[in-house]
């Protein structure tokens, strides 16, 4: 039971840079929220805030004029709105994967990135939730989405995947927020205890709920955290599965596919990790967190991008195979039309970005290269947006009746709404890094070897236990056992 030191012979390395201590973790993370923002922060914030304003204006105009201001029309009645919705929800998935799934698998490297990734989840889901809300046409009836009593005495249809979506995404947002806040409590207490001004002490003190690191609290806290992780794991898999049901349960060729749920989930994790990489590369550079978010983390994230990108590539080819194997000419046509029809440019962009570009990550030097990772992460973000665009628009634009075939073109309002949603996302994220500890300090501390109570116990002299003779027998025995275990492992 001695503490786990990295095994150099196996090529293991420390997760955190050498010289990292509890104190240095607290310092480097808390400092960001305590000192004035660099000028770059203001530039980024004002730019993002401007685009948030654009989003407000675009939505206002949409409400004023109606959905006709978008390019949507028959046959393409879902276009950028739903593309953006699916894309944003997908991006959120990486945060939950990092915070929940990797937690259950005891992947300790997650601790450096999970806080920011979870924040990203919440902000991405906020952006996602805007789109189904505003695309309903008669927005004053948007409350029909919810099972609320109304004057017509009618209830929502619980057999509809669109309603499942409301529950899935709503639950996802709520649970992600609860999970995030739970993780934040000990770190908010750190900010409270470091605060120099009464306002900070009041605000962080209020939010920290009086956390004082009590072990009786940690016990329930850790159990609750583990339960939340165990709940979030099937939840995150269910959310994009339910989103894919919106398509898969229809009879539209190109949508009516049983591979959709796992394929959507893989794509979601893929795009989410790309967004985490994009954000983390910028943040660690700007805020000097290279010791906490190391190239080792980048390497591991890129491995996941490679794995999920290849899964997505497999799904693309399997869709084609099934389209041919099904013997349904409509299905086969939908796929041939994707690759060779009027939207072939979108299809091949998607394939290039999602399947081909991550293959460079077979090389470990590419996985550890910051410029390569940044470029690929942007490619993946673009590619995954196109994946949703291809699925939605190419399937709709030529369906059963050739007389109604058409070609979708976005309008300026479409483009501005999308860019505005990016603005909202970055505004929220930029505010987050300014005011909230962006690395989970309490969790990162547990990764340090010093966090293990057995640290340094192979050599009792180091800690100066002058009282060995006073030790009661039971404890002496346990110490002896520890040594035996240590030897057995060695």
């Amino acid at each position: 039971m001695s503490y786990h030191a990295p095994n150099k012979d196996l090529g293991e390395e420390s997760l955190l840079a050498p010289g990292t201590t509890f104190k240095s973790i607290t310092e480097s993370v808390s400092r960001v929220t305590e000192t004035a923002s660099p000028r770059g922060w203001w530039v980024a914030f004002l730019m993002a805030a401007t685009f948030t304003g654009v989003l407000g204006a675009a939505i206002g105009y949409l409400f004023y004029r109606g959905v006709g201001v978008w390019g949507n029309n028959q046959p393409v009645s879902w276009a950028w709105d739903i593309t953006n919705f699916v894309w944003w929800v997908g991006i959120g998935h990486a945060g939950t994967l990092i915070s929940a799934v990797l937690f259950l698998f005891r992947q300790k490297w997650r601790t450096s990135i999970n806080r920011a990734a979870e924040a990203m989840t919440i902000f991405a889901v906020i952006c996602a939730l805007i789109f189904p809300g505003i695309h309903v046409g008669r927005v004053w009836h948007a409350y029909y989405l919810f099972p609320l009593p109304n004057s017509m005495d009618i209830w929502p249809n619980f057999k509809s995947p669109l309603l499942w979506d409301v529950f899935a995404v709503g639950t996802y947002f709520t649970v992600s927020t609860l999970f995030w806040f739970t993780g934040l409590i000990p770190d908010l207490a750190t900010l409270r205890d470091r605060s120099k001004t009464p306002i900070r002490s009041r605000v962080y003190g209020f939010l920290a709920l009086g956390w004082r690191g009590s072990n009786r609290h940690w016990q329930n806290y850790e159990r609750a955290y583990m339960i939340l992780a165990a709940l979030s794991t099937p939840l995150v898999l269910s959310v994009h599965s339910v989103v894919s049901f919106d398509f898969a349960t229809s009879v539209e060729p190109g949508w009516h596919t049983t591979i959709f749920p796992p394929y959507f989930v893989a794509g979601a994790v893929f795009s989410g990790f790309a967004m985490v990489t994009t954000l983390m590369l910028v943040v660690r550079r700007v805020y000097g967190m290279t010791g906490l978010i190391t190239l080792k983390h980048l390497d591991l994230m890129n491995k996941i991008i490679l794995a999920t990108g290849s899964l997505v590539g497999y799904a693309y080819s399997m869709e084609f195979f099934i389209a041919w194997y099904s013997g349904s000419e409509y299905e086969l046509y939908a796929f041939i039309n994707r690759a060779t029809g009027p939207y072939a440019w979108a299809y091949w962009t998607m394939l290039l970005c999602n399947v081909i570009s991550p293959q460079v990550y077979w090389s470990s030097s590419a996985r550890r290269s910051i410029p390569v990772s940044f470029v690929i992460s942007i490619f993946v973000n673009i590619g995954m947006w196109f994946e949703r665009f291809v699925i939605i628009v190419t399937s709709l634009h030529r369906d059963f009746l050739p007389a109604s075939w058409g070609y979708f073109r976005p309008t300026a309002v479409d483009v501005l709404t999308y860019m505005g949603s990016l603005g909202l996302f970055f505004t929220l994220f930029i505010l987050f890094i300014r005011w909230v500890p962006m690395v989970a300090m309490a969790e990162v501390k547990t990764v340090l070897p010093e966090a293990d109570p057995h640290y340094g116990h192979d050599d009792h002299g180091e800690h100066g236990h002058s009282d060995h003779s006073h030790k009661d027998d039971a404890h002496a025995e346990e110490t002896k056992e520890d040594h035996d275990h240590g030897e057995a492992e060695a």
């Binding site: 209830w155 000990p186 205890d193 470091r194 159990r223 339910v242 404890h475």
Partner: protein, 184 residues
């Protein structure tokens, strides 16, 4: 120091390492102390056993909430789509179990998550912004890099000097006595 100790107080011992703090807790536990707690910047694994704490009961709260969520979902859907205003869609029966699965699952998870978070708050009696330990200046380091053991004077075993001696053998670096009227 002993003569200054008020009738009701907390003895706060500060440690530099998680290991020392855990040894201190172990010694207190072995010596039969019950009214004490460890305060650490992060969860120290093995501390529960060292303090002799029983297992957390969080799981039961969440389980109860999970069943509540599932029942609420089934009841809601059955009433709305099956009883109050039956909707016949796609030729399926008004009460159609397979179509219930996604919403039932989501509500089960939602209620369970509320149970986990708010159950944890209830078990830990949080929020509580006025704890006596916040009187201590040094205690602020508990969220940074210091480890503390707090022993309450209401513990039958408590003795201002003896308790201190036990903790000293575990390498406690600093002691402080905090007067309190509150329950902990």
């Amino acid at each position: 120091m002993a003569k200054e100790t008020p009738t009701r107080c907390i003895l706060l011992a500060e440690f530099d390492s998680a290991g020392d703090c855990m040894h201190g807790a172990e010694k207190l536990n072995k010596a039969g102390y019950r009214f004490f707690d460890a305060h650490t910047p992060f969860p120290v694994h093995g501390m529960d056993k060292a303090m002799g704490l029983p297992d957390s009961r969080m799981g039961w709260i969440v389980l109860a909430m999970a069943f509540t969520g599932l029942t609420a979902a089934i009841a809601m859907i059955t009433y709305m789509n099956g009883i109050d205003y039956p909707l016949i869609i796609g030729g399926k029966p008004a009460i159609s179990i397979p179509a219930y699965v996604p919403v039932c699952f989501e509500l089960t998870v939602l209620f369970s998550a509320f149970g986990a978070v708010f159950g944890m708050f209830a078990m830990n009696r949080l929020p509580r912004h006025n704890h006596p330990l916040f009187e201590s200046e040094r205690f602020r380091a508990v969220t940074d890099d210091k480890f503390f053991l707090a022993v309450e004077s209401i513990d039958p075993k408590f003795h201002p000097d003896e308790t201190r001696k036990i903790l000293q053998t575990a390498n406690a670096k600093h002691f402080e006595t905090i007067e309190t009227e509150d329950d902990l």
